[in-house]
Symmetry: C2
Subunit: 435 residues, 2 copies
């Protein structure tokens, strides 16, 4: 029987701890391909956790392809490269099971990208081999500024834009920039990784509950947080859009004290499906308290790691003083290619295609739901933004049962419970449904 | 007159603080192109610092192209993009003066790289659009393992190799992995950035003096450090190579306590010019206490941001538990291209060419030195490793005078003094000479 030390005091939820222990065992070859995992029930009682916790851990391992489930048989370990000092042949390796392709990729205009990359490679060689400033290649920052002007009506100087290899890396830079004495408010429920990363840097996090029109201002004010990290244009996971009123209230909160900042994570604002986009906090901020972030990894393909943040002038100065010696983490080849991709209009074209696809899938989902008993009296929330919606089920089914029922229907889902820092014990009957 | 608040208490040396203030002023357009900077003497007395401090700040700005010096006239600001919400035309931007091309680039086999990139783009698209594990693309890690086996006789499993977008990013990951309670010993003198980055994450640094055959073990033992970051195969800036004896002593030190680790920064081991390479600490370590790091940014071109670290199995497990949710920061396109580049032997071919070039330049340097009065009785150190050597001058010239004399001769140099955390006040007459 698998025996792991679980730390109930850690902010990391139990199911994730179990998931990581098992993942490590598999990757280090301590669990072998074909090994049968204990039943959820028995492992739960063995580890002294709830069955739902093990359920969630197994679900995670399933989703990432570490294990496979056979009806009535149970869960079995998949084969993946183990760590031994023997170099394995590439032939042994069908794309590692850790590598899962994401749905959106199918829409990524690969041939266009490949052509632009070839054009870039054929262009001025000296330029490509010239080290850019730590903020990134000017042409790309210019293209992004242009895109934001046209697409989000944001007035940004390319000089304020900082390119980084993925949002997680930018979180690290922000952590360094704001200093580890920062107390940072994050959304509850929310995108767990964000708090994990800030905490991994020694910053303190506060989990502020979400309300109908955004993060709870009262709870924020009662907290000792001086920075708040939010996704006002489309909250994960609830899909809630922060109201204009709440936005100004947040800006007001930030203006009250010297060292207060708002981090505006605009991660999938491009994919709003209907309705007029609400201007980003960054655009209505006149107090230089908003850090705007967005990423191409989400909108293009996860295999291209390019994100960016926009700093208000005072923080930009601080960035150059404290972090100016960091080298930009994205290769010039890809920065110039992306600059072309945006500049020649392919990015917005791509966005329109993804949107169209999401719209069709959403409509199909809603259509099918109508004839599906499972969705009887179910309530659909946040159906006009992003790549998923939230469904509030009613009736007697447990979250576990609902998860299985949705899985059977081939719908990619996340139980809202799993997005909480403090995982609610009772069933919520709330699920994210991906288009 | 430029007036800046300088913080003598900060670990950051004064000259860097001055450098960053002026840089920020230039970049934010508060200092305009063509503006004349105050003379070193007057700024020094104005800011209450030594002339050498200002000298070093100006030297840094000169090196990075922010300012230009005209003999007998003084120092003048170069033109660079300033931050105003006006989007400038690309035409206004010949490669920004911040962007300086490094010597090695001329040897980078660009056309080969471009071809391999094209081959990669023409290869299995699904694979390119498939998200790799957080450690990186398996084929690249395999190629690196093969290279290290052949080139450094290291037995490493690809599963232990973690790819990251540049060494600085890997420092951040190591910082998170070891935890901010880590007290980390760095070399004095040494590569300043390393301590800067660790400190920016809230870790405490201890500066341990260098001795003839490596970092001082006595000082290390007397310190409260539990991790030491060293470059045993070629210390920057002294070029010192850590002796075998000292290496074992360091491993012994690490083995004495649970949480002790050695970070082996092998940054330019490929460029040893003569003599038998000493096996890396990682290879002789049987206690799983060595983290090995190396980079391609140094050896190929600074515009390709690919570095890697190799973790001992226990740390690898911890990495997967704590950081497994981080996405790999290098795009798959470049990872697969580099895998081909190494696998098809171009990397080692490139290394041989760079080495040859360094060797020729070194010999030319030594030849010229023979007929140059400046180098009379000068002592050359560490001439058989890396891309530079160290020269110990003797005679009455001050470091400032020596710097100018070397500059006139078109030799890229760094005054050894500037590599100290605590900058020695007296002249050292020690200089790094780049080939």
């Amino acid at each position: 029987m698998l025996t792991y030390e679980l730390d109930k005091t850690r902010s990391e939820p139990m199911y994730l701890q179990i998931y990581r222990h098992i993942r490590a065992d598999i990757e280090l070859g301590e669990l072998h391909a074909g090994d049968r995992l204990p039943s959820k029930r028995s492992l739960a009682s063995h580890l002294g956790v709830s069955v739902i916790t093990v359920e969630n851990a197994y679900a995670q391992l399933l989703a990432e392809g570490y294990i496979r489930s056979y009806p009535k048989k149970g869960y079995f370990v998949e084969s993946i490269p183990a760590i031994q000092p023997t170099v394995r042949k590439a032939t042994e390796l069908p794309t590692s099971v850790q590598e899962k392709q994401t749905e959106e990729n199918s829409l990524f205009p690969f041939t266009v990208w490949a052509r632009l990359m070839r054009d870039t490679l054929a262009s001025d060689q000296t330029r490509l081999l010239t080290r850019p400033p730590s903020e990134g290649v000017w042409e790309l920052r210019e293209a992004i500024a242009g895109h934001l002007k046209h697409f989000r009506n944001m007035n940004v100087s390319p000089a304020q834009i900082i390119i980084g290899a993925g949002t997680e890396y930018l979180y690290l830079l922000i952590g360094i920039l704001l200093g580890r004495n920062t107390v940072i408010a994050v959304e509850e429920p929310g995108y767990r990784k964000i708090a994990d990363i800030y905490e991994s840097m020694g910053m303190q996090c506060r989990w502020i509950p979400m309300e109908q029109d955004g993060i709870s201002l009262n709870d924020l004010m009662q907290s000792d947080a001086n920075v708040v990290h939010i996704s006002p244009s489309h909250h994960f996971p609830t899909g809630c859009v922060t109201s204009i009123g709440r936005r100004y209230a947040l800006l007001g909160w930030a203006a009250q004290q010297e060292n207060r900042y708002l981090i505006e994570d605009d991660y999938d604002s491009e994919f709003r499906l209907s309705g007029k986009p609400i201007p980003p906090l960054f655009s209505v901020d006149v107090t230089d308290r908003v850090i705007y972030m967005n990423t191409f990894t989400n909108s293009l393909t996860p295999t291209i790691r390019i994100s960016y943040m926009i700093l208000p002038p005072p923080l930009l100065t601080r960035f150059r003083e404290q972090l100016g010696y960091f080298s930009c983490t994205v290769s010039t080849f890809e920065q110039y290619t992306l600059a072309r991709f945006i500049g020649e209009g392919y990015f917005e074209k791509h966005i329109r295609r993804v949107r169209k696809r999401c719209l069709d899938k959403r409509n199909a989902l809603l259509r099918n739901a109508k004839q599906d008993i499972l969705f009887q009296n179910a309530e659909f929330l946040g159906t006009d933004t992003g790549m998923y919606c939230v469904v509030k089920f009613c009736g007697s089914m447990s979250d576990t049962e609902l998860a299985e029922a949705l899985h059977v229907r081939g719908i990619r889902t996340i139980a809202l419970r799993t997005c909480y820092h403090v995982c609610p014990e009772q069933d919520m009957q709330l699920f994210l449904l991906y288009y």
